[in-house]
Every structure is written in structure tokens, then in C-alpha cells.
């Protein structure tokens, strides 16, 4: 491993702090100015993020001109205890640069969209304040030059996400979801904190440069511990198995929040953490296997549950869980696949943001309904949303030449390239995941935009205003073209961070994998289209007309149910049950166990002085006895 050293920041790059300061100033002004800024507040939010985007682009190009491809900016010392110094330093290198572009670029589009989406919401100003706060925290997370700074951003995005999910306070579900997100994140934080403390204990530092250079001297046990703790942190933040439940619940928040935080940026923080710590993860094959297993499990899990959901945002949420599983799989495979994970992350940022905003546009048109069984035939009414959603759909299922093809296929190929039987297992899982993705996304797409209308009586769908469709169009174009553009250029760009990728030769050649993937994707999509082209009869509280619709075409439906739906529903309900009972059970059970212990132990708090005195006395006896035991030894 070569010595890693980051060059000091010069010229434009010494303004890195401004990237964070811009949205932070926006948030501060919006929160302090109060109602006075109701009229122009949302535009301030847009302008600050836009400014940060322009700056990020300029810095990106000046970084490209540097030989060292890194710029380290020391700001000040946060804590200095004995030998330990925690600096507030920012690191602008190829990895953080692409993240900055994603966060500010996609963030800008979503901010613009939210101006229209939240137009009738009384709390729009507060919403933009939190939104800016989130952008600032996310930028701290990716720009931090040591784990401590990353942790500060990590906590910051958690808090902002909690505030934003709970933004619609009137919905009790939103409040509960916010709590769940916050709790899961706390569990993950413990992992992060302990990882940091372990680094401090073993290396005496949490600075990226020093940790990575010193990592080689770590004992296997220590590097294993650090890797697993970081993995736990990453899983919590990114909604990976076994912490996946909070993410779909978080969809209770406003749609732009889902798009920015729970699809494009924050939930990918776990991938960033693993990619950033690539030196540590590459040290230990067991940790890498753990990441691969988590990724493969989650991508299947998310895809299967995605097939069973009827809520447009929940389907997209589960697909996010599943796609991040692909990214975890990639960064777990290590080597050249690190870059593949990041490229898929970037492409996903575009198409998933586009899909979420598209779903927001649909909800806007359908009186905030989210049940896809009640959509259908919308393509005539909202052509722009339809076209952009189609682009996102083709991108996520990964059909040539859309972006998913360029980014997901190589991950599947790398999975097959893993040595021994593991390669077959994770490769097949990734391939199966691709087929399932094609199926459930097609189902979502067809049920929403095609087939018969199954609307409730009081809706009058209409296309959204230009301020919402313009970002959609841009994101749609990104979904179409970005993949091909990024596939090679970004991989080269990231070489200074991950090292030169070496050719891998696995069980299957790249061409074989591409063909296999394309075949299963086309099959999955075709099946989805065929089964749901005429809508679905699974409407609760069936009104007369949708049922009649379904019955009129019973033949197709019978095949549908018999051949595919039943087994798929069985698998789906099994995984939903697994999710509800085992995982949720573990989360709820843990809190119930602590609460129960608490109540049981509190029985001794009788209120009688004699009990208390007895407690002191027995404590004293124990202390004396313990000291005696030490003596005897």
C-alpha cells in the first residue's frame, strides 16, 4: 500500500468551507428571520444550494488540474487532550468531489421542485430551513477530513432527517416514523462511535491520512473490529439488513425529502463510509465477506418486498433499499468494484430522485393518494411526468443504453468474479435481484401510467406546474445519459482514491453476464407488463367498477394469480412477515426489554428509608468483600 498524503489546499480549493457555509447560512437566516422571510425564504434556500453547486463545479475542475488530486484544509482544533488532537479539517479529493456534485446538483433540482411542491404548505419556510440544514450537514459528512468530522455530519443529517420526516406533524404515522428513524440511527451511531474509539485506542488518531497509513500495522482482530463497527454504522444509516425497516417508514415525510434524503444522498452515506474506509476494509477478507453478505441479502430482500407493496412511495423506498444493497455488494467486493459502487450510487442518485419527484408529481395530481391500485392511464394526462418516469424506470431496471445498464451490470459481473462458490451465490443473487427489480418496477410503472383508469371519483389529474416538471426533465435526461458517460470517466477519476483496478476474470465473462442480465431483465419486465397491463383487482373496499373491470378479463387474471402472483405473494408475505416480526420485533423487543427491566428493577425503589439504608449497607458489604477477594488473590 502506498503512503497516502493529502496536499494542503490552495487557491480556489481553500474556499472549501464555503460549500458548507452557504447552505448553513441559508438555514440560519431562515430560522432566525421567522415569518418575515415567508415570502422569499424558499428562494433563499434555492439560491444557497445553487451557489454551492456552482462552487462545487468550479472546485471540481480546479481539482482536476492538480497532480496530487487532493486538497486538505485545516480550519481549527476542536479538541486537544494530551496527545490527542481533533482537527476540524476538510478534505476535497475525487471521492468527496463527486459526492459534492451529487449533493448540490441533485439537491438544487429537488430544492427547485420543492418550491412548487410545497407552495400551499404553511410551513414552507421552516421546511426549506431544515432542507438547507440537511444539505450543510451532508456536505460536512462527505468533506470531513477525519472520522470525527464525518461523525458530526453523520449526526447532523440524522437530526435533519428526523426533523424533516416529522415535518408533517399532523400525521401520527410521520411522528412515529421520525422516532423510528432516529432510534435506528442512534444504534448505528454507537457503532460509529465505538469504531472511532477503537481507532483512537489502537492508532491514537481518527485522521483519514494517519489511520489509512497506520492501518497496515493493526492486528487482525482490531481491523476486524473496526471494520465490523463501521459496517454496523453504515447499515444503520443506509437502511441495510438488519436495519432496513426505518427507511420505508421514513416515506411519511414530504416527497422532496424522500427524494433528497431517503434516496439520493443521506442513505448513501453508509456506502460513502465504506468507500472512504476502503483501506481498512481491504485489509480483512472477513469484513469484506460480511459487507458482501449484507449487500446481497438486502438487495434480494428489498426487491422481494418491493413486489408486494401497493404504495407508490413504499415501492420506491424498498427499491432504494435494494439498490443500496447493490452498492454495498460492490464496495464489499473490493478492488475495482469500489468505484463501481460509487458510480451506481451517482446514477441511482439521478434516477431515483427523478422517480421520487415523479411520484410526487403523480400524488400532486391525485389528491395525495399513493395507492397504485387506484392509478392507471395517467400517461395521457401528465405526459412530462410520464416521460421522465419512464426514463427513470428504464434506468433502474438497467436496459441498454440507460444508466442502470452501465452501472449495475458491472456490479453483477464483479459478483460472479468473486472466487469459488461465493461468486456463484452472490452473482446469482445479484442477477435474480435484477430480474425482480425489472418486474416490480414495471408493475409500478404500468399500474400507474397505463392500463384502465381506477381513480377514485373525486380526482382530476393534471400535469404539474413547470417549476416541478423542469427538474423532472433534467433528472430524466440524467437517467438517460449519465450512466454511459460515467461508466469509464468516473472510474478513472476515482483512481487516486481506490487505486488502479485490475482486470478480473471470473466464472463468466463480462459479455455473458451482460447477455444474461439483459435476458432476465427483459423477461421480468415483460412478465410485469403482461400481468398488469389491464390493471389489478386487488383493491380493498372494492368499489363496483374496478371489480367489474377485473372480472371482465378474468382469464388473464387467473393465469396471473395462479402462475405468478401466488408464489410471489407467498415469498413476499414471508419476507414482509420476516420484516415485521423478526426485525421489527428485534428493534421493538430491545426497547421493550429495556423498559421491562427498568420497571422490574424500579420495584426496589420503595420510598422507605430502611430499604435505601439496606441498599447502602449491602453495597458497602460488597465493596469490602470485593476488596478482600482481591487481597486473597
Amino acid at each position: 500500500m502506498d503512503e497516502i498524503s493529502y496536499a494542503p489546499a490552495e487557491g480556489l480549493l481553500s474556499w472549501t468551507w464555503l460549500l458548507i457555509a452557504l447552505p448553513a447560512i441559508g438555514a440560519t437566516v431562515l430560522l432566525l428571520a421567522g415569518r418575515r422571510s415567508d415570502k422569499w425564504g424558499h428562494w433563499l434556500g434555492v439560491v444557497t444550494v445553487g451557489g454551492a453547486f456552482a462552487l462545487a463545479v468550479a472546485m471540481f475542475s480546479s481539482l482536476a488540474g492538480l497532480d496530487n488530486k487532493s486538497a486538505n484544509l485545516d480550519l481549527f482544533t476542536i479538541i486537544s487532550i494530551g496527545d490527542l488532537r481533533l482537527e476540524a479539517n476538510l478534505l476535497f479529493d475525487p471521492l468527496s468531489a463527486v459526492f459534492c456534485l451529487l449533493i448540490t446538483g441533485v439537491g438544487l433540482l429537488i430544492h427547485v421542485y420543492a418550491v412548487g411542491y410545497m407552495a400551499h404548505d404553511e410551513g414552507r419556510r421552516k421546511f426549506f430551513a431544515y432542507f438547507n440544514l440537511f444539505a450543510a450537514a451532508m456536505l460536512v459528512l462527505v468533506l470531513g477530513g477525519n472520522y470525527f468530522m464525518t461523525f458530526i455530519g453523520w449526526e447532523g443529517v440524522g437530526l435533519a432527517s428526523y426533523l424533516l420526516i416529522s415535518f408533517w406533524q399532523l400525521k401520527p404515522a410521520a411522528a412515529t416514523a421520525g422516532k423510528k428513524a432516529f432510534l435506528t440511527n442512534r444504534v448505528a451511531d454507537v457503532g460509529f462511535l465505538l469504531a472511532m474509539f477503537t481507532m483512537l485506542g489502537a492508532l491514537g488518531t481518527v485522521d483519514f491520512q494517519e489511520v489509512f497509513n497506520g492501518a497496515g500495522s493493526l492486528s487482525t482482530g482490531t481491523s476486524l473490529a473496526i471494520g465490523l463497527l463501521l459496517l454496523a454504522a453504515a447499515c444503520g444509516k443506509s437502511g441495510q439488513f438488519p436495519f432496513q425497516t426505518w427507511l420505508p417508514d421514513a416515506m411519511e415525510g414530504p416527497t422532496p425529502v424522500s427524494a433528497l434524503i431517503h434516496a439520493a444522498t443521506m442513505v448513501t452515506a453508509g456506502v460513502y463510509l465504506i468507500a472512504r474506509s476502503n483501506v481498512i476494509f481491504s485489509l480483512n477478507a472477513d469484513v469484506q465477506t460480511a459487507v458482501v453478505v449484507v449487500g446481497a441479502l438486502t438487495l434480494l430482500f428489498g426487491a422481494i418486498v418491493g413486489c408486494a407493496k401497493d404504495d407508490i412511495k413504499r415501492v420506491l423506498a424498498w427499491s432504494t433499499v435494494s439498490q443500496i444493497g447493490y452498492m454495498f455488494l460492490a464496495v464489499g467486493l473490493g478492488g475495482g468494484a469500489f468505484a463501481l459502487g460509487i458510480i451506481h450510487l451517482l446514477a441511482h442518485g439521478f434516477f431515483k430522485a427523478g422517480l421520487f419527484l415523479g411520484s410526487g408529481s403523480v400524488m400532486h395530481a391525485m389528491n395525495d393518494q399513493t395507492d397504485i391500485r387506484r392509478f392507471g392511464g395517467l400517461w395521457r394526462k401528465m405526459p412530462l411526468t410520464y416521460a421522465t418516469f419512464a426514463a427513470g424506470w428504464l434506468a433502474i431496471i438497467g436496459l441498454f443504453p440507460f444508466s442502470g445498464f452501465w452501472t449495475k451490470d458491472p456490479i453483477i459481473a464483479s459478483a460472479f468474479a468473486r472466487e469459488g462458490w461465493q461468486g456463484w451465490v452472490v452473482g446469482s443473487a445479484a442477477l435474480l435481484g435484477a430480474a425482480l427489480t425489472a418486474f416490480y418496477m414495471t408493475r409500478l410503472f404500468v399500474l400507474t401510467f397505463h392500463g384502465p383508469k381506477r381513480w377514485t371519483e373525486d380526482v382530476h389529474p393534471h400535469e404539474s406546474p413547470a417549476i416541478m416538471t423542469a427538474p423532472l426533465v433534467l433528472l430524466g435526461l440524467g437517467s438517460l445519459g449519465a450512466g454511459g458517460l460515467m461508466a469509464t470517466s468516473v472510474a478513472d477519476w476515482l483512481v487516486p482514491v481506490f487505486g488502479e483496478p485490475h482486470e478480473v476474470h471470473g466464472h463468466l465473462s463480462h459479455m455473458q453476464v451482460t447477455i444474461a442480465t439483459t435476458v432476465v431483465v427483459v423477461l421480468g419486465a415483460a412478465l410485469g407488463w403482461f400481468l398488469f397491463r389491464n390493471g389489478t383487482d386487488e383493491v380493498p373496499r372494492a368499489a363496483a367498477w374496478p371489480v367489474r373491470f377485473a372480472r371482465a378479463d378474468l382469464g388473464g387474471e387467473a393465469v396471473n394469480r395462479g402462475v405468478f402472483e401466488r408464489p410471489s405473494r407467498l415469498a413476499a408475505s414471508a419476507s414482509v412477515a420476516m420484516d415485521g416480526r423478526v426485525v421489527d420485533g428485534a428493534v421493538n423487543g430491545l426497547s421493550a426489554a429495556i423498559g421491562g427491566t427498568s420497571r422490574r428493577l424500579l420495584v426496589v425503589q420503595t420510598g422507605f428509608v430502611r430499604t435505601y439504608a439496606l441498599s447502602i449497607l449491602s453495597g458497602a458489604v460488597i465493596v469490602v468483600a470485593a476488596l478482600m477477594v482481591v487481597v486473597v488473590q
Binding site: 490527542l84 449526526e155 432516529f182 465505538l194 485506542g201 429495556i594 424500579l602 430499604t611 482481591v630
Partner: protein, 517 residues
Amino acid sequence: MNEAQQAGLQIDWAGLAPMVIVFVAAFGGLLVEATVPKGRRLVVQVSLAVLALAAAFVAVVLNSDKHGTAFSIEGVGIGSVVLDGPGLFLQGTLAILSIIAVLLLAERRTTRGGDFVAEAAVVADSAADKAQRREDGATEIFPLTLFAVGGMMMFVTAGDLLTMFVALEMLSLPLYLLCGLAKRRRLISQEAALKYFLLGAFASAFYVYGMAMLFGFAGTVDLAGINQAGVDSGQPRLFLYIGVAMIAVAMLFKAAAVPFHMWTPDVYTGAPTPVTALMAACVKVAAFGGLLRVFNVGLASSAWDWHLILTVIAVATMLGGAIFAVTQRNIKRLLAYSSIANAGYLLIGVIALGEAVGQTMFYLAAYGFTVIAAFAVVSLVRDGDEEATHLARWAGLGKKSPGTAVVVTILMLALAGLPFTSGFTAKFSLFAAALQADELGLVIVGVVSSAILAFPYLKVVVLLWLNEPAPDAPTVNLPSPMAGTVVAAGVAATILLGIVPGFLLDLVDQASTFLNT
């Protein structure tokens, strides 16, 4: 020349000045009670107390470069009062925190006449008691507080066990009294005072017994002498062990460590809220100041012997406090259990010895400011005349009084230990210091315990912002400048120490060396 000087006794009066000022002001306060007409007593007492404490703080600052003993005979120091970095830093912290606490004691606007009873001797709930509720509270509380604070200042600088015992009693007795002086729910308040007194006396007995044992072992009550004896005493070590155990029990009682913690929730709930604030902030500082000194100066040589049992107590305290806190429905009890859990974190600092002295002191200061402000806010939220301490009553506070809710949120996030608050910097630096002393196990328990403890705090935040207020929701009484200053100072310190902790961390780093270690 007087007799003492002839005998060669030199007294560093400047070094004693902080305590002397506070004690003189306390006696002055008693005279005020006797001479100044009733209507003007409050103003005079509060000014006297605040000025005295401010003067004491200035005296501490002037002493800041001292490193020696206040008494010496012919140049050889006697360890009864020790002026060294930790002692002076903690004296200064106590002076500042008690100024804030005095302001809270003086609050009279949130409830008419304040939280204190006018005539403590009147039988509770009798007709006379109901009549006196309209009267202003007694002003004796200020001299009592000064006596207690003087005792605390002595406790953190006491260099031998005997002086320490005198200081312990001096800080405890006024507090027992103060706990029983609530104007409302007097029976509960008196019960709390009696419980605190009985258990405190019980603990003091342990202390005296332990001191006798250690004297038997070392032939001296001087801490440095005991440490030396730990290396070369010819006496059976049994005396040392019993002595250490008994002294530790007494001090852990004051610090509210499990299993010596049971008085804490009852007393915190029963005592008038300003007194609870004083106990949670200042007594904590004094108790841990004493623990730090006893273990660093007096028992460092026998560290191997007590390390295990203190670790067990720290783990029990951290987990116990956090787990008990989870199901609390009363904000004062929640804060009481969180104070127990925090005692556990601080114990890590004691166990880590020299490595973590500075960070433990930083933690004490940071926690003191936050907890005092938290109790101040508790005293503002009221159902009529009574404090609305049941958490359910706080639901939807964010809608009715967003300002107060923001303050509570900041304080809760600090207590939960989120970044950008003093709670985070304090915990992080303490845990990091403990790691340097190879206490990884304790740090892991600490992190897990604070993750559990974050849950009840979070519940409060959720209640405030995300629940609908009840139609008869409690009102937030507008504080006078007194309690207003308390809240503002506490919140400001919480945020400042979270964002720019550097200056204070540097200060504690410089002040972390005990004399004679």
C-alpha cells in the same frame, strides 16, 4: 506577633480568601436576617450572596498560579487545605455555578412569593400553613446556601481526611434543611429532607469509620501520607482495604452511584426545584472533586486493589441510571436518574486517574451548566401554582410556547450527548481520555449506556413538538430576570462548550495536576 506565628505557622490568607469570603458573607447573611426589615431582605441577601460568590471567584482567579498548601510550619506544608490546579478550578466552577443557583433561588415571579416556605416550623397543611402560602418565602435560604457552597469549596481543596469530613458535614447540613423548605407539597419536601438527612448521617458514619481505619493503617489522615503508607506501611493491609471501602461508600453516596443512589430520585423530586438544581450541579462537582483527590492523591498507590470494585460500581451506575431513566414519567425523576447515569460516566474519569482528571473536571462544568438550566426550565412550566412535572403535561409545549420548547430541546439534546452541544464534547473527551488509560471496557459500556439514555430525552423532545397540547395544558410562566439569566447562561454555556470547547479544555489541561501526586 501572635502565638501561631511564633510557633512558625504561616497562613496563606490569599489562598484561603475564596472560602473566607463565602463564610463571612454567610454570617453576614444571618445578621441581615436579624437587622434588615423584612421587605428589603430579599434584595440585600441576594446582592450579598452574588457579590460574595463573585468576589470568591475573583479570588480564585488571582490564586490561579498557586501550587502548594495554605498552611505551613517553617516552610513545610500542612495538607489540610491544598491549593492546586484541580482544587482551584473546581472552586471557580463552584463559585460560578452557585451564582447561577442563587439567582434561581431568588426567582419570585413564576410563582408568587417563590418556591420556599415562609415559616418552616408551621405544621404542614394546617390552617396557618395555608395562610402563609400567600407570604414571601424565607430569605434564610441564602446564608444556608452560602454555608453549603463554602463547605463544597473546602471539600474540593481538603488535603486530609479530617478537613474533608468537616467540609462534608458543612456542605450537607444546610442542604438537608434546604430540601425541606418547599412551600407546596410540603410533606413530600419534608419527607425528602428527612430521608436525605438519615441516609446522609448513615453515610457519614461510614466515612468516620473508614477514616479511623486508614489512620490505623497509615498513622496519619493526610492523603499524601496515606499514599506513602500504601507503599511502605508495616500495618496489616486489611485496615487499608476496609478504610478505602468505607470512605468510598460515603463519597459515592454523595455522588449518587449505584447502589448508593436510592435517595436521589426521592430527594430530587421532593426538594424545591432550585435546591435540586443546586444539588445536581454543585454537589456533583464537590463530590467528584473529593473523589478525584482522594483516589489520585491518597489511594493511587493501592489502585490495583480498588480498581475492580470501582469498575463494577461504575458499570452498575451507568447501566442502572440509564435503564431506570427509560420508564420515568416525571421530568424531575428523569433528571435524577440521568444524574445517576452521569455519575457513572464521571466515575470512569476517577478510575482512569491522572489521565482523565482534566476531562472529568470539564465534564463536571459542562454538565453543571446544562442541568441547572434544565431544572430552571422545569420550574417555569406550571399548572396553576404547582410545577407541571409530569411529562404528559409537557405534550405540545412547542405549539404554545416555542421559545421554551427550543430551550428544552437544546438541553435535552445536550444531555443525550449530540454533537454541537457540551454534552457531546464532554462525553467524547472524557471517553477519549479514559481510552488513553486503557479503559476500553468502561468506554464501551459508557457509549451503550448513553445510547440507552438518549431514548428518554428523545421522548421529551417528541412530546414537546409532535404531540397535540391538552386543552388545559400548563402555562409557561414568564420568568423574572433572575431565572431568565439562569436559563440563558445555561443554554449559552451548553452551546459554547459544544462548539468552541477549546479554551476550557486547555484550561482544565493546565489545571489537572494535583499537589503531591
